[in-house]
Amino acid sequence: MIRLQGICRTFEVGGEPVHALVDVEETVAAGEHLAIMGPSGSGKSTLLHILGCLDRPDRGIYELLGRDVARLDEAELTLVRRHTIGFVFQFFHLVPRLTALENVELPMVFAGVPAGERRERALGRLRTVGLEARATHRPDQLSGGERQRAAIARATVLEPKLLLADEPTGNLDTASGRHVLEILERMNAAGLTLVVVTHDPAVARRAQRVLVLKDGRVVHRGDGAHIHEAVALLASAEDGR
């Protein structure tokens, strides 16, 4: 599904280069559930943005479904973002003036799906996240958990192969966070490749594999069951500051 080879990404901050990612190598199989952990500033969000084709690596090869994404032009990247990748954000990023249903319809609007079919499919998606009854509510009329579920429905309505979640439970209480994770895992079980960036060991523990980043480098790889190693590593990293 994903093959990363020597990925580097450097930003200029105040005239000084900041190495957000240094020689990241990783392979993600189709249907996998991967968690990316790391302290803030470790490059995990940058990695997720590169995976989501919202950002490009300065060096290295990113192969998505066998295609070298780094070489695609803007129009081709748009199509990849539209059809292959779904994105879920910590702050939901629902369009405030649109109802839940219209938010879910949005990707299909850009994809040119006819209006009638759009409604049908969006409603179907809202049903799978248990939000059918709230379809005509605007985001400010929904709870945090409901907003995130609407955002998941929107991210998956065009049947992507890869779902990227940036702190999906970061802004939710424990109960709605668990609900959101259950929905993501159900989709993962149905074959969707899932990559979650998180601080939360409880979230990372549910992944099959955990990747720990520090200062732009992968410092630990392990399976979810041995998350305590990763957590200990992170704790020492925090202490080291």
Binding site: H49, A75, L106, G112
Partner: protein
Amino acid sequence: MSLRDVLGFATRALRGHRLRTGMSLLGVAIGVAAVVALTALGEGARRYVVGQFASIGTNLVIMVPGKTETTGGMPGLGGAPNDLTLEDARAILRGVPEIDKAAPTVMGTETVAFGERRRQTALIGATQEALEVRRLSVASGRFLPAADWERGSPLAVLGQKAARELFPGRDPVGQIVRVGDWRMRVIGVLASRGHQLGVDMDDVVIVPVATAMKMLDRRSLFRLVLQVRTHADLERARARAVRVVAERHREEDVTAITQDAVLGAFTSILGALTLALAGIASVSLAVAGVGIMNVMLVSVSERTREIGLLKALGAARPQILAAFLAEAVLISSAGGLLGLAAGWLAVRALVLVYPALPASPPVWAVLAAFSLSVAVGAVFGVLPARRATRLEPVAALAGR
């Protein structure tokens, strides 16, 4: 993404900022209304003048005594022009075959009285030919009879308004009125005609030219209106008529103008005026365009997160460009429509206040004003829309 989706998306976004949208829409509306109203004013002035001339026909030569250019010569010699007389008019008719009718005219002001009612009106001394040459028609009774021009019969024809004021609710035909010191019999009333050559033809009393000359104690005609048989001969007839009079007076001391020349001059002056007014009004449209650009730039920077999100959802650059451009064009074209309506109302109000001014916006101005307003949105919307498409998705999502 269909056009309907683009417009739908843009409309939803605009509705989110009603006040801001309304204000920039108002800017365009004022610009368009100004173009419509001001060009209507200019066009109204042009039509007024054209109407004044057209109402007396287009194949006329108007001759007045005196030369418009400065004459030199010894002081005390020459200078004062010879009279333009009925005899001159007859000589022109004899000597210029292109001219088929001559209408000698004198003018003054007199008090017309019937019983207790009296009224200051324009006094026109005319002949039977004036009916055709000046395109008049009679509402009741008859016009001056065809008679010897020198015969000063005590007959009078009243304009509509003069008749109405002196004889409220009665037919004046056959009644005796006093015009100055003269007693005259009313033989007819003119049909309503409006202004003609600067005179309100509804508020006149017309008497035979010889009578008027005696009443006003004048020996010269005020003007001589000559009707040329065919329009093509207009200029030649004018020149020949002037020569006939010059031979009789032994100097060229009359001025003759053709309808066309005067009309042409007025039309080009007033056309330029209308264009100038349209130009001034267009400036306000451009200002409105800058207003739209400002509003759209604010909108883009307010919605950077949304733009980042749209990119993450797979919106292509042209789609984002279209969505933001559509917002600008929606504002400007809605403002344009509003402006057309407001301009139309303004013109109607103007016509109500000044019924004599046939104010009406020319079609080109209406079309130009509206398309200009749409174009203003498109042109001034490009910069903000391009800024939206150029945002880097990651930075935009972070709200940077």
